[in-house]
Amino acid sequence: MKRLLSLTLLLSIFLTACGASATPTPAPATEAPTLAPTEVPPTATPEPAPQTLTVFAAASLTDAFTEIGAAFDAANPGVTTTFNFAGSQALRTQIEEGAPADVFASASGKEMETLVTGTFVGADVSQVFLSNKLVVILPADNPAALEKLEDLANSGVKIVLATEEVPVGKYARQALDLMDASFGAGYKDKVLANVVSNEDNVKQVVAKVQLGEADAGIVYVSDVVAAPELKSIEIPAELNVIAKYPIAPLVKSENADLAVKFIEYVLSTEGQAVLAKWGFSPVK
């Protein structure tokens, strides 16, 4: 008994020591005030307490949301927005396994619905904030000399898609179904037989085509805006699939007010303008 007690004592000493070393070191001395005469005297209002907002967003939103995040931080002093960009299906799994997030922006309604079912997102709080559509991308020098959608079925063309679980991979297969009905002759099967890799998110597909390792990939129109050196083959509206992106605050968010504020910003005129700039179709 005595031994056990002393063991507990030692453990607690050990843990306290660990805890102490983990406390933040004092902030470095405040910056010396500049002596420029035009300097505005410091305002009396205290700085707001620093807050961190964590946004889990579909990989296709990487460029647009990075810009929106910077603008949001600038408009809200003390706020730092951090992002976790990945395939929506990966983010959904992370949230289900307890990853701390405040906002989830998905490239597909399916992942959002799964989170609503699991009560990670409240019912009826998610809103569609943009739509996107598909395009075929090719490396700048078009090594397989592809001219039209039918050429994707040519033998020996190296095609990279996202896996079926990634929203863009699912949409691409839906578009291939539409093309199959239109072109016939086993089009979809031939295209799928040309697939050399199923990537984990849309940006991986873009990277493989950018590097010239693949002859073609099916991604979002917005991805071409982010990688203007790529060539592309347009998919006509009747063969295309419209992706609707929902966004929602998470039930377990510890910054619920800020999460709502961020979503409002994304849906605001400024936010929607940034999305339009990066090739998405705004909903407003």
Partner: protein, 271 residues
């Protein structure tokens, strides 16, 4: 040190300083065992066998076993002479050569994957030439093996080099006195003496190749039956269906345990 001993004597009482060894060991053991137990515990579900015996799982396991075996074979064939040369010959820039060979051990596999892509990709340094003569490496099973070789072979070379270096110089000299040539010396003296270092190095390389993920997904991509090894199937399965990912993980754990048992048996027989 004596103060620490005194303190521990005061806290634990006389003769219980063994706790100084037991406590840290227990913490670390629990840390290792807990995730494995949790994984096995959570994977026990009615659909475990459906998941573990699915076509995808079987293909991935087969591909992993085949590629890692080829990697090990190539490593032993090419790596043994290299290790011997590094251990027994003297030449300039040897230290630099050893450094280059040790680098893949400490490099993140993602760096290895990127480097392989930049070298052997279709637009790569060598890849452009290979592509011109009709070879394209990325997204093929060859790419999987190359990724494993890059990451795992240095473990064998390192182990074999140390094994060869420990062979007594006098043995070498007396072999020459007896009229042995370089090859005889290598096969009849060096290999038998260093065999345990070679075997343990080969096992290290084999298990590392079996677990290779980062370089493979960058350089070889993900296609069922062609480049989707077990670790990649687990990663992709994590997003599709956690049950599948866990079932595959448990299968990989069982395979690894089985192989480790075989190697332990081999080591025992050698003694």
């Amino acid at each position: 040190m004596s103060k620490l001993r005194e303190f521990s004597r005061q806290v634990f009482g006389e003769g219980t300083s063994k706790w100084i060894f037991l406590l840290p060991s227990l913490i670390l053991l629990v840390f290792f065992a807990l995730p494995l137990i949790a994984l096995i515990y959570r994977s026990i579900a009615p659909d475990f066998f459906a998941n573990a015996l699915s076509k995808q799982a079987f293909q991935a396991l087969k591909l992993s076993l085949v590629t890692s075996s080829i990697t090990t074979l190539v490593t032993v064939v090419l790596g043994t002479p290299l290790a011997y040369l590094l251990a027994r010959w003297k030449f300039r820039f040897k230290a630099w050569l050893e450094l280059i060979l040790d680098l893949p051990i400490v490099l993140p596999p993602s760096v290895a994957g990127l480097a392989l892509l930049i070298a052997f990709g279709r637009r790569g340094l060598i890849g452009t030439f290979l592509s011109d003569i009709g070879f394209s490496i990325p997204f093929t099973t060859t790419a999987v093996i190359m990724a494993q070789l890059f990451v795992a072979a240095p473990l064998y070379i390192r182990s074999a080099r140390i094994g060869f270096a420990h062979v007594d110089k006098q043995l070498e000299e007396s072999a020459y006195v007896e009229g042995a040539n370089q090859l005889q010396l290598f096969y009849e003296i060096m290999i038998p003496i260093a065999i345990r270092s070679l075997a343990s190095g080969a096992i290290l390389t084999w298990t590392r190749a079996l677990g290779e993920f980062g370089a493979t997904i960058l350089f070889a991509g993900n296609l069922e039956g062609v480049t989707q090894t077990m670790p990649i199937a687990i990663y992709i399965g994590f997003e599709r269906n956690l049950g599948v990912a866990m079932a595959l993980s448990v299968v990989l754990i069982l395979v690894s345990v089985f192989l480790l048992m075989i190697t332990k048996q081999l080591e025992k027989e050698e003694e």
